[in-house]
């Protein structure tokens, strides 16, 4: 009971170094900004990967479809952390250029590898989501577009994609939320995002419990904002009488 009362005291919040200390607050905010930046870039890139991949999966050429299918199967069924390690430690070590001072330097920074790895991982999921959305578009609609003289690309751009996007909206939302949660993995390659700076702060100030709570609440907040944005988007995109 006493501990609960302790928690409820107002000075608990003020004694948080994230709130009171300028230096820690700056670090925390920079971590928050890094997480938001990483999330937004990865969401955009993964959407592009998803749309392009789904378009290729509807292509005529069997080879293209098979290779995209292989990519999706591999990235969906291997751990994202190991993928990240593979990109950063394996490919990143091989891909080096000689810098100005004559020493080998990595071609892509750890932030770059984080973006590439997470975008490909989430993109592979998005391909699968968009593909099922594309499959759910009624055949008659596509045939009608063909009868109106649309080319294949036009059909995809103006007919299939807008409908598929609306059908796959809820699955897409789940995946994007997952992507934001997966950005914590880049802690392992020392990208200074929220979890990383929080770990720095709690190992210096020894306030593990408080920082942990701040961290969890921050992520729940970020995800809540994303869910709200997605909800607004879904509402804005809705065609009355089509797709729930």
């Amino acid at each position: 009971m006493e501990t609960v009362l302790d928690w409820l005291q107002p000075d608990w919040l003020l004694s948080l170094s994230v709130v009171s200390d300028d230096y820690n607050r700056g670090r925390y905010l920079s971590g928050l900004w890094m997480t938001v930046k990483l999330s937004v870039i990865c969401i955009v890139l993964s959407l592009i990967v998803g749309i392009a991949g789904a378009a290729i999966q509807g292509a005529k050429s069997r080879a293209l479809r098979v290779s995209v299918g292989f990519f999706v199967a591999f990235f969906r069924n291997t751990p994202p952390l190991v993928q990240l390690y593979f990109f950063y430690f394996a490919i990143g070590t091989v891909l080096r250029i000689t810098g100005e001072n004559g020493l080998p330097q990595p071609l892509v920074s750890n932030f770059g590898w984080a973006v590439i790895s997470l975008s490909l991982f989430a993109g592979a999921m998005n391909i699968e989501i968009f593909r099922s959305g594309v499959e759910a578009v009624p055949k008659a609609t596509i045939e009608a577009a063909e009868a109106l003289g649309y080319t294949r690309l036009q059909i995809y751009r103006y007919i299939v994609l807008p409908l598929a996007l609306r059908i796959s909206m809820s699955a897409l939302g789940t995946n994007l939320v997952n992507l934001v949660k997966t950005t914590t993995l880049v802690y392992a390659i020392a990208v200074p995002e929220l979890l990383y700076v929080a770990a720095q702060i709690w190992s210096e100030d020894l306030n593990v419990r408080e920082m942990m709570n701040v961290l969890l609440l921050s992520y729940v907040g970020i995800v809540a904002v994303l869910v709200w944005v997605l909800h607004r988007w879904e509402k804005a995109l809705r065609i009355p009488g089509y797709g729930g």
């Binding site: 751990p79 994202p80 190991v82 430690f89 949660k181 979890l195 969890l216 992520y219 729940v220």
Partner: protein
């Protein structure tokens, strides 16, 4: 005998015209499975090739030999990953089913509380929950004068089972709500209590709905087990890092990580294939 030559037979079975290379459209001749495979191999050779050239400079064991030598330890460590995933799945499933049932409780207070707990654990990152459990659960608990030790990997199992619980709770809520209300009403008219209805009538029917997402969740959980290496529990990823630093060869990096990826792929891919098949089969019947 050629049927076209016999009088009265119609020439319906003419020999098939031999497929010429020029019959295949140019675009298919350029992009097909074989060229894709050749491209992939060429890419791998260019990626790994330079490292092989380095290996030739200093006579050393070949990459394959090294991978083969490490395979028993990797298999053992991977087995530990599987153990962690099974234990976390068991704990998470039991708690999740309970939480899911609470989410459809007739009391709005309980329902809302269960919903908040579910959403909280579902929307917080796995890694943060792992850190939470690793750092905040004491390393031993004294119960009735007996001290129970809590090693790191048990705490990791608990940390992984929390999100599993939340996902499971959502699946259960969806499945219970998808059972037609006639089932509840007829059970009530037969004099079943709410608890009996839930246990004997509703829950058995939800299994079919919950099984595919449950299996998918297991695959996701297995893919999350390397996370415990970040919080300092030794499993396949930490073993790999240790093996790589023990060998200290740059040319080993790509093959070794690919090898580990293949282990996970071979474990998770059959599960997701089976999940897809089950989903399709059940969706036809419903």
């Amino acid at each position: 005998m050629n049927p076209g030559r016999i009088k009265g037979h119609l020439p319906v079975l003419l020999p098939a015209r031999k497929l010429m290379l020029s019959d295949i459209p140019l675009h298919d001749r350029l992009f097909n499975v074989w060229t894709a495979g050749a491209l992939l191999i060429a890419f791998l050779v260019t990626a790994i090739g330079p490292s092989f050239a380095q290996a030739e400079a200093a006579p050393a064991r070949s990459i394959l030999t090294i991978l083969f030598e490490w395979t028993p330890s990797i298999a053992k460590a991977f087995g530990f990953n599987v153990l962690i995933s099974i234990m976390a799945m068991a704990i998470g499933t039991v708690l999740g089913v309970g939480l899911g049932v609470l989410q459809v409780s007739p009391r709005s207070m309980i329902r809302r509380l269960a919903w908040i707990v579910t959403q909280f654990f579902r929307n917080s990152p796995w890694l943060v929950l792992l850190f939470y459990c690793i750092l905040l659960i004491p390393f031993k608990i004294t119960l009735f004068g007996m001290s129970v030790p809590f090693p790191g990997w048990i705490k990791a199992v608990i940390g992984l089972s929390l999100p599993v619980m939340a996902y499971m709770s959502e699946y259960m809520r969806g499945a219970i709500n998808s059972i037609p209300s006639g089932q509840w009403e007829s059970a009530q008219s037969l004099g079943f209590t709410r608890f009996q209805t839930m246990r004997d009538i509703i829950l058995p029917q939800t299994i079919k709905r919950v099984l595919p997402p449950w299996m998918n969740l297991y695959a996701v959980l297995t893919m999350a087990t390397p996370l415990v290496s970040i919080v300092g529990v030794n499993e396949v990823m930490s073993l790999t890092r240790a093996a790589l630093s023990a060998e200290s060869r740059v040319d080993l990096l790509i093959p070794m990580y690919l090898y580990i990826l293949c282990w996970f792929f071979l474990y998770c891919y059959p599960i997701s294939t089976l999940t897809g098949r089950l989903e399709r089969r059940y969706s036809v019947k419903l």
